[in-house]
């Protein structure tokens, strides 16, 4: 066995998994706080990546200004979606709310095609291009730097949830909405905050992933593939999203390298099937969660 090769592809897989974790985090934050499965998460990623393209490509702003602007735009979009389309659905059946998110996804694809056309796009280069070596192991620079940015943001998220008032309110609401409400927490605001933060994570991941794999109106499909990650990790577990993201990224890459690209998906779905049989609520999910 070529251990150097194994090490290199494992490193690539783990780094890619870090980006999966970031997307999954966006998914889980929204579900944990509001119990809404957001099927538009991939399209929010896509929209933010197109905003980056507009700012850095169309307006020719520095990518390091365009990146926060695009992420901010994606976050605001999440907040607006919650306020305008999700909040009026409070109390409706979960299926109805899920259908609304699917509708939002279609609308976002249409908007993107309207403004940017259906052509495939590449984002302006903004990550260093020099190959990265960790010891003797090669790592593609986009993946390496994308992972570092994503990891930094993940740490900020964890610190925010642990120590800030907003984070505590979010965790309290996730644990027991009625109790949180009775303690004076503005639950509606927390819902909105969850969508903003979830969309922020997804938007950042969207720009980083699009910088690696290109961008098109169908880009949002990646969000659905990350559904595997959140189900394996547990729909309402942030820790689960982080661990499952890294694991699924590694598994996909190793399966692709040794078995062929056509086995990437079967390998992950095999793991999904096993996890669903052994722990239907995911590796770290809450036992009582209701699945759609």
């Amino acid at each position: 066995m070529d251990w150097l090769f194994f090490g290199e592809i494992s490193l690539a897989g783990l780094a890619m998994g870090g980006l999966y974790s970031l997307i999954a985090l966006g998914f889980v934050i929204i579900y944990k706080a509001t119990r809404v499965i957001n099927f538009a998460i991939g399209e929010i990623m896509m929209f933010a990546a197109y905003l980056f393209l507009a700012f850095a490509g169309g307006m020719e702003l520095s990518p390091w200004i365009a990146l926060p602007l695009a992420v901010l735009g994606g976050s605001i979009l999440g907040g607006v979606i919650e306020k305008v389309m999700i909040r009026p659905m409070l109390g409706e059946s979960p299926i109805a709310v899920v259908m609304v998110t699917i509708g939002i996804a279609s609308i976002l694809v249409g908007v993107v095609e309207l403004f940017w056309s259906a052509d495939p796009q590449l984002l302006p280069r903004f990550l260093p291009r020099e190959p990265v070596f960790i010891g003797p192991l090669y790592l593609a620079p986009k993946i390496a730097y994308g992972f570092l940015i994503g990891a930094a943001v993940l740490i900020l998220y964890l610190l925010y949830f642990r120590f800030s008032r907003g984070g505590v309110a979010l965790r309290a609401t996730a644990s027991d909405q009625a109790a949180a409400y009775s303690m004076g927490i503005n639950v509606r605001r927390v819902f909105n905050l969850a969508w903003v933060f979830g969309s922020l994570a997804a938007s950042l991941a969207g720009v980083l992933v699009a910088a690696t794999g290109g961008l098109s109106p169908q880009f949002g499909i990646i969000g659905l593939s990350v559904l595997v990650v959140v189900i394996v990790g547990g729909l309402d577990s942030i820790l689960g999203a982080l661990i499952a993201g890294v694991f699924i990224g590694w598994l996909e890459t190793v399966a692709g390298a040794y078995l062929g690209g056509e086995y990437r998906m079967p390998a992950t779905f095999l793991v999904l099937a096993v996890i669903l049989v052994i722990r239907p609520y995911g590796l770290f999910g809450t036992h009582e969660i209701e699945r759609v």
Binding site: E8, M16, E113, L114, T212, G213, G214, I222, G256, R264
Partner: protein, 406 residues
């Protein structure tokens, strides 16, 4: 600054939106001079939206402009031409529905199919109806099986023939006694897998060693593991198939970062100017097989000049027209030739008669669309040329003669 916010995509987007609004049948009619005879209908299931819309809008423009042009020339033997289409979003069920609707209401003599899936799905009905000849966006090898698909043809070389042209070029570039090495990189789709087995067999015949096969899943985010595999075999050439843009760019950039001097090649849908526009300098040296002259090539000819004039007339601001436009135009050109030959022979416009007319095409001068006279073989036009990206000039330049397979 804000005018640039959405770049040129905004204008294209508005065009797309406008076209998308034409969900109902769109009809191009001939001038009054040719209306004393029954119109001949060009039908089409056209992907103006969905994953293939980036090409569909240009295919539609090519078909529309050709229809306008042929009508301005008096139609086909005095028959005006009507182009009737529906948007399919590149979904087989919608393409089938569009075909049934247009067949029922307009009796098209010829029809543009938007995908291999649709063209396979509709084959039984097309064969039983027996009054429409079909071609389209597909270059699938399977569709050149005359037994199963007697009324469908490929408006160029099929994908296996494209690989054949690429491999002949590689063999011609190789010094005596050398054995070039090659890797195939293709998507895990029916489209991607189409030419691989035939390609491997042809490579073996030509003494080219296939050292690696990489399959990528559709929508792959990262291909660095696949690039690492290629680094170990260090192929002289990588041939891509089943992609439009990504992940070709990532393979090229990462392999060059690793210091490999591999040459990169691709088939028709991977050889649009989009690659240059989006990749910039990174696209330099990329090669593609193309059966038609590029819109901005230095070649000329009466039909190529007419195409450029019509394109300019219909949309003066459009500038360069992509390969989808050329493909749409060439489809309609072949339909016209086939219909003309059938009418000239005093035969009815049945699928069987038109298929026979197509098969009779030999040493046909396409007026510069293809640089040499072409002959139909097994319902396809097995001809092409290798073009290489000159990133400084922002265009493809020919690096081989035209190659016509037997």
């Amino acid at each position: 600054m804000f005018r640039n916010l959405f770049s040129s995509g905004f204008r294209k987007g508005r065009q797309l939106a406008g076209l998308g609004g034409l969900v109902a049948a769109l009809t191009m009619t001939a001038p009054a001079m040719a209306q004393d005879k029954e119109p001949i209908v060009f039908g089409g299931s056209i992907p103006l939206s969905g994953v293939f819309a980036f090409a569909g809008v240009h295919i539609h423009a090519g078909l529309t402009d050709y229809t306008s042009w042929i009508n301005s020339e008096g139609g086909i033997n005095g028959h005006p031409v009507e182009y009737v289409m529906e948007d399919t979003a590149y979904e087989v069920d919608r393409s089938v529905a569009a075909f049934k609707k247009i067949s029922g209401s307009d009796s098209p003599a010829v029809y543009y199919g938007d995908s291999t899936g649709f063209m396979k799905a509709i084959a039984a009905e097309l064969n039983s109806q027996g009054n429409t000849l079909m071609s389209g966006a597909s270059f699938a090898t399977a569709l050149t099986d005359n037994e199963q698909y007697p009324f469908q043809f490929i408006p160029g070389p099929n994908y296996s023939q494209m690989f054949g042209i690429i491999l002949e070029y590689i063999a011609s570039e190789t010094g005596e006694g050398d054995k070039p090495t090659l890797a195939f990189v293709y998507s895990d789709t029916e489209f991607g897998k189409d030419p691989i087995e035939n390609g491997k067999a042809r490579a073996a015949e030509l003494g080219i060693e296939v050292v690696e096969e990489i399959v990528t899943k559709p929508g792959s985010v990262d291909v660095s593991a696949e690039v690492l595999k290629l680094r170990r075999v260090r192929p002289d050439y990588v041939v891509f198939h089943g992609y439009v843009l990504s992940p070709i760019n990532e393979f090229m950039v990462q392999m060059r970062q690793m210091g490999l001097d591999t040459k990169f090649m691709g088939t028709f849908w991977s050889s649009d100017k989009l690659i240059i526009d989006k990749m910039g300098a990174d696209a330099d040296g990329y090669m593609g097989v193309m059966p038609y002259n590029y819109y901005d090539s230095e070649e000329s000819g009466p039909m190529l000049d007419a195409l450029r004039a019509q394109a300019e007339k219909s949309d003066p601001e459009a500038g360069y027209r992509p390969t989808g436009y050329m493909q749409g135009w060439f489809n309609a050109m072949v339909w016209t030739e086939v219909i003309k030959r059938t009418l000239d022979a005093g035969k009815e416009l049945t699928a069987e008669n038109m298929a026979a007319s197509l098969a009779s095409i030999e040493d046909w001068d396409t007026g510069g669309i293809i640089g040499i006279p072409v002959t139909v073989r097994d319902m396809s036009f097995p001809v092409g040329r290798i073009w290489r990206v000159n990133a400084d000039e922002g265009r493809y330049e020919p690096v081989s003669d035209w190659i016509h397979l037997d």
